[in-house]
Amino acid sequence: MRASPKNSPPNLRGEFHRYIALLLLALLMANLDACRRAPPSLVVDSSIVAYDIEQDPNDPQRSIPLHYEQAEGKRIFYDKCIWCHADASPAGPSNRSNLIPQPPSLSDGNVLNSLSDGFIRNIVTLGGSALGKSPMMPPWGNTLNEKEIHAVIAYVRAVAQPPYQAPGRSSSDYGVK
């Protein structure tokens, strides 16, 4: 049995209450505080979260972040497409100005943004002549697989200038509350 309060001086009993009350209050506060704590915001730097980057063709100061699939597209572009679809190739001069009709530069949004993914996929897979375009564009369907062609399209969309806007709902429809 605890010591009877009668045995204790009244002033001491009062302090005892206060201590318990304060202690419990502090515990309560500490716990509630733990619940309320907001998650820390993570540092998001596009060059750190990007798998790879590509230089903006029109603005040397800006780099475009690429995710894995777009970076794969970049690799394939630099291997197979750059020779005719850019103004400089890894070997120096470009084959683009050499061709009639001149193939579009793949970062040229004015030409490519109006083409659907399906059209680009078809012309890459089946070649120019299958779609009534220049036969100089060879078919890549046996050389590249579907995933690789999809990656090239993803890359082209990422580097397009002016930027590419996917058809359908505008991005504001997806807005966060």
């Binding site: 993570l42 084959n95 060879p138 997806y174």
Partner: protein
């Protein structure tokens, strides 16, 4: 306790009891409240709210299950709860960039996040259910998420063989090998170069003490943004890193190195007739320059060029830059070196050319006259004569600074394991790293980056020298080092090992293969350089006579190529030996030369083939014939003298089967088309009749 006794309990005590009870009930209630407010539950409620704003709410919510979502990969000892918050990670409907994080789907990757989870690639703490603990370093959770820029490091944990998809990692591994990091550090799986730095046993015969002083003091020419030279060093991109040496150290080291001389060099005696004819002819210098260019020395060596006020180097990086070599080496040494590099340096990768006396004289004159910098040694202080005391101190310094890790010198053995073991650097905890006063984030990636960029930024007393690396190189090396986790949790069946191959041949071909260092640029059966075409199947591709002519007088097949095969001045016999070897050994199992039926190549078929080439398939987009066409593929003007018909047929059927990764697209030609186009290509001969060599 009786009621009477109860009544005696003071009012105060009952008050306390009531209060404590209420507080304890509230206290216990906190536990479910705290759980309700936990981060992952809040994210899951947010997800439900987000799903309700979309038109596909129903499908999204049917596939959503609340609670901790966990992937367990027992073989890798990985527990991954990331999907608890990253709910849409493998839902293709949520791939759009407008989907808020953490709900967005992962972009398409080769390994499904459903199967492998996140931490296998991204690192971080798979078990944690709080944002900070999962992604960052806290007291209890040390492994932070890897910056995505370096994510290829995680591929390297299992894929020890190079992957096409990881260019940054591959480049980093290559740099670790070419910069000879393995000279000082133990690094698992990185190829060791045969001879990283030159053998210095005879360096006193090659260069002067003043030049050594200059090289150790200011190896690099530094240019400011306006194009003005601020430091007139020796090279634009020296391969040797910069050791911050004090003046006294440079003095003693240069004294020691210049004392290293084996026998004195005998000077090469040109015939008196040759000297009489060439010595006082000023044109012999410019003729030497033309010969220098014709021999394609710049395929391996670079020269400084100033264009539009900007100075840069043009040429290859297999050998050293030669812009100022005339002010560096002793002329007698140079002639001896050009005649037989392996005599001075047995492991040198420079081919042994067959020089005519005239060419040797002219090229030497050109190098010692034009490739010079008169002011190169102007700021080297006056060095007193070498005394034995200095040499002794210099020799000790040579070992202390770790020079022996890359260079050999007389009586100084190669030093091994001079620097720390890096085999598990990628798995080090931050508490094991020394950051010094560097103002960088306390992460492993930032540490490796800083250490690679400037070793003294994290440790002022670092013994590691400073390398000249650009941003891309630093990132590549950081990726490769982060991949070295020494992770014993990866089971052996998941590791894709690196294939080591070495292609050494004996006999007559073997001697030529060594003399002309074919493997420095070409690959044979998986071994060799990547600068020039893979020759594993060259015997199936090229005709014997063409090979002989090409070896005697290499011409380029690709108009845009900057690097070309040097002219070795081979003898007829040497060219024949190489061609015969290739025709006998370097064959593709897919090409059978005897199968090609020349009778099928009729003029009619050739006419159809020409039509197909020019109109239907428009091959001229990439290939040139007699000056007209594209620059992408090789010039086909001489195809009939160059290629075997069996190779052309197989190439048209499936080029990637013969040369994996070639740009030529794989088309579906019918066998009639293949025959017609082969017939056409077999009519393409350059006018000049090829001289038959027997």
């Amino acid at each position: 306790m009786s009621a009477e006794q109860m009544g005696k309990v003071s009012k105060h005590l009952r008050g306390i009891f009531a209060l404590v009870t209420v507080v304890f009930v509230a206290f216990l209630a906190i536990s479910p409240v705290k759980d309700y407010f936990s981060e992952w539950k809040r994210f899951q409620r947010e997800y439900v709210r987000y799903a309700q704003t979309r038109s596909d709410t129903k499908t999204l919510l049917t596939s959503f299950h609340s609670g901790i979502d966990q992937i367990w990969i027992p073989q890798m000892k990985v527990v991954d709860r990331c999907r608890t918050c990253h709910i849409g990670i493998s839902d293709p409907k949520l791939q759009d960039a407008s989907v808020p994080q953490p709900f967005r789907a992962h972009s398409t990757i080769p390994h499904s996040p459903t199967e492998w989870g996140c931490v296998v690639c991204h690192r971080g703490q798979g078990l944690a259910t709080e944002v900070r603990e999962a992604h960052q370093t806290t007291l209890a959770w040390e492994q932070p998420v890897l910056p995505t820029r370096y994510i290829q490091a995680s591929c390297g944990g299992c894929h020890q063989a190079d992957l096409q998809q990881t260019p940054r990692l591959n480049r980093g591994r290559q740099l670790l090998s070419t910069l000879n990091c393995t000279g000082c550090h133990r690094i698992e799986g990185i190829d060791k170069p045969v001879m990283p730095g030159p053998d210095l046993s005879d360096v006193g015969n090659k260069v002067s003490r003043e030049w050594i002083y200059k090289w150790l003091n200011e190896p690099q020419t530094i240019t400011d943004s306006a194009g003005n030279i601020t430091v007139n060093g020796y090279e634009a991109k020296p391969k040797m890193p910069h050791f911050a040496l004090k003046q006294r150290e440079i003095e003693t080291l240069s004294a020691y190195l210049s004392s290293l001389k084996s026998e004195p060099i005998e000077s090469h005696q040109f015939s008196p007739q040759l000297l009489a004819a060439l010595k006082n002819r000023p044109e012999s210098i410019s003729e030497g320059e033309i010969r220098f260019q014709q021999m394609f020395c710049t395929t391996c060596h670079s020269l400084a060029v100033t264009r539009a006020g900007v100075t840069g180097v043009i040429g290859g990086d297999i050998g050293p830059e030669l812009s100022k070599v005339g002010s560096k080496v002793n002329e007698d040494w140079l002639i001896g070196w050009l005649r037989n590099p392996q005599q001075y340096q047995p492991h040198s990768s420079m081919p042994r050319y067959r020089w005519s006396e005239e060419d040797l004289y002219k090229v030497t004159r050109y190098i010692t006259t034009n490739l010079t910098d008169p002011g190169l040694l102007s700021n080297v202080p006056r060095l007193s004569p070498v005394d034995t005391q200095e040499v002794r101190i210099g020799k000790r310094l040579f070992s202390d600074k770790g020079c022996g890790s890359c260079h050999t010198a007389k009586a100084v053995p190669r030093q091994k394991d001079f620097g720390p073991d890096l085999s598990n650097l990628g798995a080090r905890n931050i508490s094991q790293l020394e950051f010094g006063k560097a103002a960088i984030p306390r992460t492993l990636a930032a540490y490796i980056e800083a250490k690679t960029t400037n070793p003294r930024s994290v440790n002022p007393d670092a013994r590691m020298p400073q390398y000249q690396l650009d941003r891309g190189d630093v990132e590549a090396i950081t990726t490769a080092l982060l991949s070295l986790t020494g992770n014993s949790n990866i089971p052996a069946q998941l590791v894709l090992p690196r294939h080591q191959s070495e292609f050494r041949v004996g006999g007559a071909f073997g001697r030529l293969y060594e003399q002309y260092k074919c493997y420095e640029c070409h690959k044979f059966n998986g071994y060799g350089g990547t600068l020039a075409p893979d020759l594993s199947f060259e015997g199936s591709r090229a005709q014997r006579q063409w090979l002989i002519d090409f070896l005697k007088n290499p011409r380029t097949l690709r108009p845009t190529l900057t690097f070309r095969m040097p002219q070795f001045n081979m003898t007829d016999d040497e060219a024949k030996t190489i061609a015969d070897y290739l025709k006998l050994v370097s064959l593709s199992p897919d090409v059978d030369e005897s199968s090609a039926d020349e009778k099928q190549f009729t003029p009619q078929a050739a006419a159809v083939g020409k039509e197909l080439y020019e109109v239907k398939y428009q091959c001229q987009a990439c290939h040139t014939i007699r000056g007209a066409g594209g620059y992408v593929g090789p010039d086909l003007s001489n195809a009939a003298n160059w290629l075997t018909s069996a190779w052309i047929e197989q190439w048209l059927r499936n080029p990637q089967a013969l040369v994996p990764g070639t740009i030529e697209p794989h088309r579906s030609f019918t066998s009639e088309e293949v025959n017609a186009m082969t017939s056409y290509l077999m009519t393409l001969k350059e006018r000049e009749k090829v001289k038959e060599v027997r």
